[in-house]
């Protein structure tokens, strides 16, 4: 069944999963909270549909949120040697959210980061339930702080 040259080691074949094992894996996958979920949850609490697409401000705002809520941003590390606190992970997360159409940064002139009503509704329905009540309250508060920071003129 395998092409002539490709060698598949039958001794290493995966043992059949039991229903319990399968359910455990599915459960773990469904309940995974990733850095992407934290950022998406924060963005779902923006009062407006768009914020300025300013990388300095966006990274700086999340950096400040991390300082106040380190437990929510454990995986985010920020360089502090540059002109602004930059996080490679945050850059990747924003790309993935863009790729999933949850944010839109690719608008004329690249001036806005748009989080549409539909995206917010999706995040509230599918992402926020991953968090406990306490964390959800924190995320809501962080959303407001984040918005204020990226809209500030300084």
């Amino acid at each position: 069944m395998v092409s002539k040259m490709y060698r598949m080691n039958k001794d290493l074949a995966l043992k059949k999963l039991t229903e319990k094992e399968r359910a455990k894996l599915v459960n773990q996958l469904k309940n995974t909270v990733a850095p992407d979920d934290v950022v998406a949850a924060i963005l779902s609490h923006l009062s407006k549909e768009e914020i300025p697409l300013n990388v300095h401000k966006i990274h700086s705002a999340v950096f400040k949120l991390k300082q106040k809520n380190p437990e929510m941003f454990e995986e985010f590390i920020f360089s502090t040697k540059d002109y602004y606190p930059y996080s490679y992970l945050l850059e990747q997360v924003l790309f993935r959210l863009q790729n999933a159409d949850l944010i839109n940064t690719l608008n004329l002139g690249f001036k806005k980061c748009i989080v549409s009503k539909e995206s917010k509704a999706y995040i509230r329905k599918d992402v926020l339930p991953l968090f406990g009540n306490e964390d959800r309250k924190k995320l809501e508060k962080m959303g407001k702080t984040f918005e204020k920071a990226v809209l500030s003129t300084s």
Binding site: M1, A34, R96
Partner: protein, 491 residues
């Protein structure tokens, strides 16, 4: 053992028996890409160390040579190229009268040695193995330490840093200083490798030559990888070197930046970067080969095997071997034979399903899968479910022959980390001159693809497609259109 202490012990063992002898004369080295240059006597001592010579046996672009036949260049060649380029950059900088007091000969000596050493922390197949040891807790913990967080160090840079800071290496530098009457400082070189600018004796622009937004490392690896793959890309290195400046505004970080007249050359580098990612680093065949390398280390881990008596439970083990060891490891561990034979005979895994903006109907849910990037444990759960589902349909696949691959998009931080001087007082981000980062993000978004890989037999691919489609729908809710199969070239 901490990462630092395990590397310290390893380097003590590697360098312990080395007797340094004074080298009689400098050497003229020919590099196919950057041209002929001189290596000084003390640099030859360092270049001759086994930990540097090992880089000859570490391919620069993992198994890209199985897709691009000429891409068999190695880390050693890249190391020499970076040494040559950092010198050219430095000398162009020094030729400007206003900067002659900002740098001195010691800086260049240390930068050149740091260039020679900057990749000694790489494991076999370069970034392929970095995807493995980079996830280990020893490295993850280090990345959060202030000295590394501060500069956002990559795993292999942290490894190189600890090699250069190891007691045995510091002693070796002390001997070199004594033989050649030099004043080299291993700690400063280690900091240059990670791009640390919090060094009171040296300003940030010094480390930017080697590890900054447009450094000698990038200026070598991009044209080198393009040249050896046959991809046609050009970099106007001379213009970049001569338009290079230091941001000297009061209160601002003293970083290397560019005059506005060099901006389009920097943009050109970024275009090249995204083209390299879409054409080579993230090419489906190249990624399939990376997955097969990861399979080797999974088999080793799951079955308590060893290569050269190393079990690869900790990052330092990856310093002890090279590509040759991995590809001949089946002699020591016969269980690896099939996977290694497949690599040696270029029998690569093939695509069974493609995840992209063109293949997923409900795109919002793509994020449920892509958020697993960088989380190998979770990805393994999904692979297990897919393999199990395929086996329920009559196959008997090993987990090691099923991969869910979510390649990283290239970072495009340079345009916001690099300033461009418009006038003496006015500096702006490169991205303000032209939003090259977002322009290229649009390109990346269209080009980005994730893959489910499996053995190449058509029937197996059909079954794995069905299994993957079912699992990704049941677990994550993703709905695929016919392009998911068509893009995998199955129809």
């Amino acid at each position: 053992m901490t990462l630092a202490s395990s590397i310290d012990a390893y380097i003590t063992n590697e360098l312990g028996s080395i007797k340094l002898a004074k080298v009689g004369a400098p050497k003229k080295i020919r590099d196919a890409l950057t041209g002929t240059f001189i290596l000084n006597e003390h640099e030859i001592n360092v270049l001759d160390l086994p930990i540097v010579q090992r880089l000859r046996r570490i391919s620069q672009t993992a198994l890209a040579c199985l897709t691009y036949p000429c891409a068999s260049h190695n880390r050693f060649q890249h190391t020499l190229g970076v040494t040559n380029i950092v010198t050219k950059l430095f000398n162009a900088f020094l030729s400007k009268k206003e900067y002659s007091k900002l740098v001195n000969e010691d800086d260049l000596r240390e930068l050149r040695l740091a260039a020679i050493l900057h990749d000694v922390g790489h494991g076999p197949f370069s970034h392929a193995c970095e995807e493995i040891y980079g996830q280990m807790k020893e490295v993850q913990n280090e990345r959060k330490k202030p000295e590394f967080e501060h500069v956002q160090s990559k795993p292999h840079e942290i490894m190189s840093y600890y090699v250069v800071k190891s007691k045995a290496f510091v002693e070796l530098i002390t001997k070199i200083n004594s033989i050649y009457s030099l004043n080299l400082d291993a700690e400063r070189m280690a900091n240059m490798i990670i791009g640390n600018m919090n060094n009171p004796k040296r300003q940030g622009y010094i480390s930017d030559f080697l590890n900054g937004p447009f450094d000698a490392d990038k200026l070598d690896y991009m044209p080198r990888d393009a040249y050896f793959t046959g991809l046609k890309m050009d970099v106007d290195f001379d213009r970049i070197a001569y338009t290079c400046l230091v941001d000297q505004r009061p209160g601002k970080p003293r970083r290397l930046c560019s005059d506005i007249s060099g901006a389009h050359n920097l943009e050109q580098i970024l275009f090249n970067k995204v083209l390299l990612y879409s054409s080579m680093y993230n090419h489906h065949k190249v990624r399939a080969a990376v997955c097969m390398i990861k399979s080797i280390f999974e088999i080793i881990d799951d079955n308590n095997l060893t290569i050269r008596n190393r079990s690869f439970k900790e990052p330092v083990d990856f310093l002890a071997i090279d590509d040759y060891d991995v590809l001949s490891s089946f002699r020591e561990a016969p269980l690896l034979k099939d996977t290694i034979d497949n690599i040696r005979n270029r029998q690569l895994l093939k695509r069974a399903l493609v995840i992209s903006r063109h293949t997923v109907e409900n795109r919002n849910l793509t994020g449920k899968v892509t958020k697993l990037t960088g989380n190998p444990a979770q990805i393994k759960y999904l692979r297990t479910l897919i393999a199990d589902e395929a086996n329920k349909r009559g196959l008997s696949l090993p987990l090691y022959d099923i991969w869910l691959d979510l390649p990283r998009a290239p970072s495009l931080n340079e345009p916001t980390l690099c300033k461009v001087r418009i006038t003496e007082e006015d500096y702006v981000d490169l991205s303000e001159v032209f939003p090259v980062d977002w322009w290229l993000t649009a390109y990346n978004e269209t080009k980005w693809k994730g893959f489910v890989f499996c053995p190449p037999d058509k029937k197996i691919r059909e079954i794995v497609y069905d299994a993957a489609e079912k699992v990704l729908k049941d677990v994550e809710g993703l709905r695929f259109n016919p392009m998911a199969k068509k893009e995998a070239k199955m129809e």
